[in-house]
Amino acid sequence: MGNDPIIVKLKDQFKTGILEVTEKNQKRIIVTINPDSLPNIAGYLYRDAGFRFIIASAIHTKRGFEIHYHFSEDSAGLILNLHVILDRNNPEVESLSNMFNASNWIEREMHELFGINFLNHPNQEKLISEGNWAEGVYPYRKEFKSNSEEKE
């Protein structure tokens, strides 16, 4: 496992940043990294290795907040996830939007729905609700109860 050329290169360049590599198959690789090294590793994938940023998915789990940054290498049909685990009480991570615009909206969305703070984001305003929700209420967190659930 971990013999894919891109994994070898990543391990070589960012020794301390990489915590775990899971290779589901040749086309699906999940690399769990230290949140501090996210800008460097994402920058390497985007600028040097020719990866395209697809989207990022935030998940609220028992471990805190997890984000999968999905990158695609189109010539090989490879999806590589950069997986970070953020602190439950103070979820924050460096924004990637200064590097590529593709992450601008999704970071605003994750900020709005999960309350994850993206440091140095150029414009971290609400994307969807345009400010007509209460501050500090994040509907995609697991503890959020909707109207119908609360009546039960």
């Binding site: 395209r52 998915s57 999968h68 999905h70 996830n81 590529f100 209460a134 509907p139």
Partner: protein, 401 residues
């Protein structure tokens, strides 16, 4: 600094009849900046999906968009099948690809028609929509529905395409092909359309990479990405076809890519029909007993570009997290590049050029109002809120004048 005039398109688009708001900041006739506002029609499908079983999610994601209503179940099926680790039978693969390509044909015809309508060229509009009709009839014949086909499930498809229907499908397809020839000729050789669309709304290769744009929007700028080729799924590796690209990046190039893609789609369907005849009838399902714990990535090439579904399973009968990225979510953001510097008249067709699908972006939020901690919201209040929102917007627009 000179004063800028704000020209609103929306909150209800006059031509596309969908809720969105483009704010064009103009200096004279030239668009200097553009902002986009959404959120008028949120359905929270990602959150809803967590409360549905895997079988039910197919019907839910099918309703994300009425035009590409097969792309989302397609991507979701790919994601769940990755978690389970199964592959559908060849017959099911052929049927999936046939549905996917028929959808591409009807969606591209719809776009060509709308683009003509935007230009004031209503002949193209009427032709394209007339020729789209037999495709919808075809859908009704093989799936039972003109839209929202309900064909997909984990491990295969719900309905077979019986052998006695294949001849009828071929006949309608041949008819669609000859009509497409007419339409393509009318659009590609028309000097007025050339004059109107060439050099308008140019998106460079670098912009496409920066914004992560996908589909015909990317392919018209010379970025040859197509999930069907790059990360093959369903029957696409079993048939011969090529990825259509253009280099100019303007609206004409986007129209060219879409028109030529329809021929590839017709060719793919013809090959799939041949494939169907070789397979045993009725062999369309692989039985799946349970969905194990794990994560799955599903991709499908929708008419507008790559649809991406990310499913996290905790071993229960519904997804623990289901992230959906529709193509317009990344394509609409490119307006910041393609519209700025255009005249207002060109901006409208540039906005239509990526074939924006607002429902693609309207899936996220919850309708419950939680301002001041209260969570009450009945139909009357929703209507009141919508009215007050319109008033706020009108006030805002008045102020900025």
């Amino acid at each position: 600094m000179s004063r800028k005039t704000l020209i609103p398109i929306g909150p209800y688009h006059p031509l596309q009849e969908e809720p969105e708001l483009f704010k064009l900041y103009c200096d004279g006739e030239i668009v200097k900046d553009i902002q986009w506002v959404t959120g008028y029609n949120h359905r929270s499908i990602e959150k809803l999906s967590e409360s549905k079983t895997y079988e039910q999610v197919f019907f839910l994601v099918e309703r994300i968009c009425g035009i590409c209503s097969t792309s989302h179940p397609f991507a979701f099926a790919n994601a769940v099948e990755e978690i389970v680790g199964i592959e559908p039978t060849d017959r099911a693969k052929y049927i999936r690809s046939i549905i996917g390509e028929l959808e591409r044909i009807h969606s591209h015809l719809l776009w060509v028609g709308l683009a003509g309508h935007f230009l004031g060229y209503n002949t193209v509009f009427m032709w394209a929509w007339k020729y789209r009709e037999p495709v919808l009839d075809l859908f009704e014949m093989i799936t039972g529905n003109r839209n929202s086909y309900a064909m997909f499930r984990v491990g295969g498809v719900r309905r077979d395409i019986e052998s006695d229907k294949i001849a009828a499908v071929r006949k309608i397809l041949a008819d669609v092909k000859s009509k497409t020839d007419l339409l393509t000729g009318a659009v590609m050789d028309d000097p007025v359309i050339h004059a109107r669309l060439k050099g308008v709304g140019i998106l460079t290769k670098q912009d496409v990479i920066d914004y992560g744009a996908v589909g015909p929007t990317a392919r018209a700028s010379g970025v040859a990405i197509d999930v069907r080729k790059d990360d093959p799924y369903a029957a696409y590796p079993l048939v011969n076809w090529k990825v259509i690209t253009a280099q100019a990046g303007d609206v004409f190039a986007k129209a060219e890519v879409r028109l030529l893609e329809m021929y590839e789609s017709i060719s793919i369907i013809e090959q799939c029909l041949k494939g169907l005849e070789k397979e045993k009838e009725g062999d369309i399902m692989v039985k799946v007993n349970e969905i194990p714990e794990g994560i799955g990535h599903g991709r499908a090439e929708a008419p507008r570009g790559e649809v991406f579904h990310f499913v996290v399973s905790d071993g229960s009968n519904s997804p623990a997290r289901h992230k959906i990225r529709a193509p317009s979510y990344v394509n609409i953001a490119t307006f910041k590049k393609s519209c700025v510097g255009q005249t207002i008249a060109d901006a409208t067709i540039t906005l239509a050029g990526v074939d924006p699908c607002y429902c693609c972006t309207e899936r996220m939020a919850v309708v419950y109002d939680v301002r001041s901690g209260e969570k009450i919201m009945n139909a009357r209040e929703l209507i009141d809120r919508s009215i007050s929102r319109s008033h706020d917007l009108m006030e805002e627009l008045k102020k900025s004048k």
